[in-house]
Subunit: 548 residues, 2 copies
């Protein structure tokens, strides 16, 4: 262990005021649903007869502090999906609160994600188990996985395990999909008379699990700060060397919250926001034109360098690419593997519509082949395998070559690709995420101690100091809506995309022209755990702007 | 400016004890050359008649503190070559000391590297200029460039500028090549009767400007800590997800100091050290075999994940690649651009020797074409354009496919490439680099104030606390030796490669088998500027181990 890891172990997470009196807390159920929750949704009501009427929960201090001793309970916890910084602190906060409420309560952790539930593969979590993970990054205490508990068979397997292990509660730490599953599992357990209560925890660095009740998912703070710092470092290098155009792809396939947050933090020359691309029905070709325009403009004022940020999911937002991908998904040729490269491309071009063909023809050969060959288990094109930053560079390169020829570009173009993602998923959580996660763990324990199920732990006023944070819980069903997924109507937690009318995007929109040519680079710090920066820069720009 | 940037501005660099009495310091010239300096080298003596006899310098406190007032001088400073964290602090340390020695002394900064000298393109440096850059990363105050002052014409242009600007001193902040040029310039100026004194400052994140007198070049500390932190983050992610094998390429083409330091700090499963590859005459094919062996071994204990670190310059260390590159450099075909891809490859295969052909044939087509087409301005193959991490992945992939077929590999292999370099060159310097650079700047001012030329500022005992650092200067000529470069004998500063008998490598060698299968990942912190970590982890492992 590094000395630093030991320092972090010694850190005591801060919790909101109410949690200082954890053993004496009681729940108070709201009289009405909050505005913004789906007040009436017959489809959800029909799917969730036991849980759709649940109301939000607040905690209040019991006037008689020596009142209830909580009953002894046995709880399980599981990480679901991609890593996010702070996961271990959810487990620590859960464990500590369970023990505080009744020292005989116990906690187990299912291993390697929901798969661990189905296989009943777990470890006992003790004070000792936690000795090395408090305030540390990663999900390595338990591991994680992407198995989903969705099918009837999986549900009944989960019942079996919950019953045989005599679980009073199960805490699912996951993103929108995992919490959707949590909502179904809570309903199913009630229906089957299983005593195990289900509590969800909002996790994802992507920041797209967010709504009226959930200000931010955990991990977003740490990950976006790591990426912002790296972007700042690259910007300082660009400004010093004055010879490279850096293309930085940021993780986040379905929403561009991370890209937007990093843009606000570091102020690069250009940041592409997927939601805006989609909203304005922009084509990839148009984006390539815009990037090339910027490079030409900058070169006119002798700036043959720059920093451009693109979201991981760019292609899936572009009008032309979306259409192309849709057509390619339907294009099946059983013999494609036996064909030569040129035959493969020829086959695709012949089969595609005019519009799709035009888009396809713009891609370099390598990408064309990737689009034809890489399929996910559902037979769909595996867009995530395409190195978008490399693709964009190649397309800009070829556009600038044309402009060189016709004399409209006389500058230099030396591109450098970067991709930041894995660096931010398992890092040591910021003080914010460490505190937030520990608090979420505490809330989960409280909810289970008072027999609640089908709720997501929730903390409000996160833009204020920790003392002033408000703790509560919101019914998982209140976040559900009906959505078409792979051709079927499904009840799912609504993903939160970047709101083009929201304060963070508006702020970005107001400033971006100024940032594009006149460099206004900022150089955000590496995450600080001590000293003034660990406090001053406590929250993300997104949270700050959304709370004004 | 971010609040953090302001905090850093407010930081007062620590300096060694003697520098608290800067105005009263005098130099003391050693009676003899230090052991290890090239005691007698007739070739160097012949090339440097005016400077080859210089002896090392120490500073001592003047018994009469009210003695000398230093004369007013005009000094210039220039950044040369790639960025390294701390450059701005050299300038600040230089400026502050000049002003302290005589408030009428002045400092100018040549812009965009040595090119700025030749063009006499500079800015005046004032307290105001420095207001935004103290303790900040980057070289953006002045910019940098890779122009070298080497030709007779460039030398005489430099004379002209030095004379017209009435420069008393010129401080060159650069790596081995830039300081080699500094040595020649000092000699030339003396020979021409130019009054401008030359002082060199040891800069490079690569860590290969290092010798008996220079424990470490500035920037290595910050850059290696940034990369180690990122590697740790990736390791934590690998350990949690248990499904990716990460290939991390680290900047540093000619020496693997950074890779070695990061290996010692983060303990990944495998780290390739270029110097060892070269020493053992290993082929790239052999390395691919070894990596594949490791992946197979790990998969046998259900570890289908891992972290592998490779140095940027890997290909240039491999026996087979070196030979191939040599042959390809001589292989010129004026018509190659007009040929089809297959014709190009065919042409090369026909022209290469058996051994070179074998190596060439192992490469994927894309790399083969890159090797044939990308040439640097000297007509040599531009090896740095090849994405080594991608190449290694493709070769390992194809090796593992073979092993899958013959049944010797039954695991999974999901590779993820990363490249860290630009993130570390211009970052906010660690407290160590901030202090070290400021001290170097102070020393340069002192040396110029007492009319010294042809020296490199030097700080010893860097592994101790700042108070105990020893300040001095070492003749640039004492670092020179004769070396063949591009077929010609040249006097150059000897690059320091990783010493396979040195303590850092020995420590790595002792532990690496243990790290390879049984994960002993460490998770080094993001650079901390406050709190215990900013002190505890004060120095690099390399410095620590070399100082025992």
């Amino acid at each position: 262990m590094t000395p630093f890891a030991k320092e972090r172990l010694a850190y005591t997470p801060k919790v909101p005021k109410l949690l200082h009196h954890l053993p004496s807390l009681q729940i108070e159920i709201s009289r009405s649903r909050r505005l913004g929750c789906n007040e009436k949704n017959p489809a959800i009501d029909a799917l969730f007869p036991h849980t759709s009427q649940f109301l939000p929960i607040k905690f209040i201090e019991n006037s008689d502090p020596n009142g209830d001793t909580r009953k002894k309970i046995k709880v399980a916890v599981v990480f679901s999906g991609g890593q996010a910084p702070g996961g271990h602190n959810v487990v620590a906060g859960l464990f500590d609160a369970l023990k505080l409420l009744n020292s005989e309560s116990s906690l187990i952790g299912f291993l390697q994600g929901p798969e661990g539930i189905l296989k009943n593969n777990y470890i006992e979590i003790t004070e000792n188990t936690l000795l090395k993970v408090r305030n540390q990054g990663g999900f390595d205490l338990l591991g994680s996985g992407r198995t989903k508990i969705e099918t009837e068979e999986q549900f009944s397997k989960a019942c079996e395990v919950a019953r045989s292990e005599k679980l009073d509660g199960l805490v699912i730490i996951g993103g929108d999909d995992s919490n959707t599953n949590a909502a179904f599992l809570a309903e199913y357990f009630l229906q089957q008379g299983i005593a195990t209560k289900i509590i969800g925890i909002p996790k994802t660095i992507d920041g797209d699990l967010k709504n009226e009740d959930i200000q931010i998912s955990f991990g977003f703070d740490t990950a976006s700060k790591i990426f912002s710092n790296l972007i700042g470092n690259i910007q300082r290098d660009a400004l010093s060397a004055k010879k490279y155009t850096h293309f930085i792809k940021l993780m986040g396939r379905s929403a561009s919250h991370i890209a937007l947050e990093c843009a606000l933090k570091a102020q690069p020359n250009l940041t592409i926001i997927g939601e805006e691309v989609e909203d304005s029905k922009k084509s990839l070709q148009k984006i390539i034109q815009e990037i090339s325009d910027l490079i030409v403009e900058r070169s006119k004022v002798s700036k043959n360098y720059g920093v451009i940020v693109i979201p991981e999911g760019l292609l899936e937002f572009c009008d032309d690419c979306k259409a192309l991908i849709k057509e390619l998904n339907l294009l099946v040729d059983g013999n494609i593997a036996t064909k030569s490269e040129d035959e493969k491309i020829h086959f695709a071009i012949n089969a595609l519509s005019e519009k799709a063909k035009e888009c396809f023809s713009l891609f370099p050969k390598e990408t064309q082949l990737q689009l034809l060959l890489e399929r996910d288990p559902h037979g769909n094109i595996n867009v995530s395998k395409i190195e978008t930053e490399q693709l964009v560079i190649k397309m800009v390169e070829s556009e600038l070559k044309k402009r060189k020829k016709n004399g409209s570009f006389t500058g230099k173009f030396s591109p450098q690709p970067h991709f930041y993602g894995y660096e931010g998923r398992a890092a040591t959580p910021t003080n914010f995420d460490a505190n937030y996660c520990y608090t979420l763990g505490n809330i989960a324990a409280l909810l289970l101690a008072v027999n609640q199920t089908g709720y997501m732990a929730c903390v409000k006023n996160l833009h204020l100091e920790v003392e002033a944070w408000e703790i509560g819980a919101v019914p998982l069903t209140s976040m559900l809506h009906i959505e078409e997924r792979q051709g079927k109507e499904k009840a799912v937690i609504k993903k939160k995309f970047v709101d083009l009318k929201g304060a963070p995007f508006k702020d970005f929109e107001k400033n971006r022209v100024e940032w594009s040519i006149n460099d206004h680079y900022l150089f955000p710090e590496p995450i600080q755990f001590f000293g003034p920066s660990s406090i001053i820069d406590g929250i993300t720009k997104t949270l700050e702007l959304e709370s004004i």
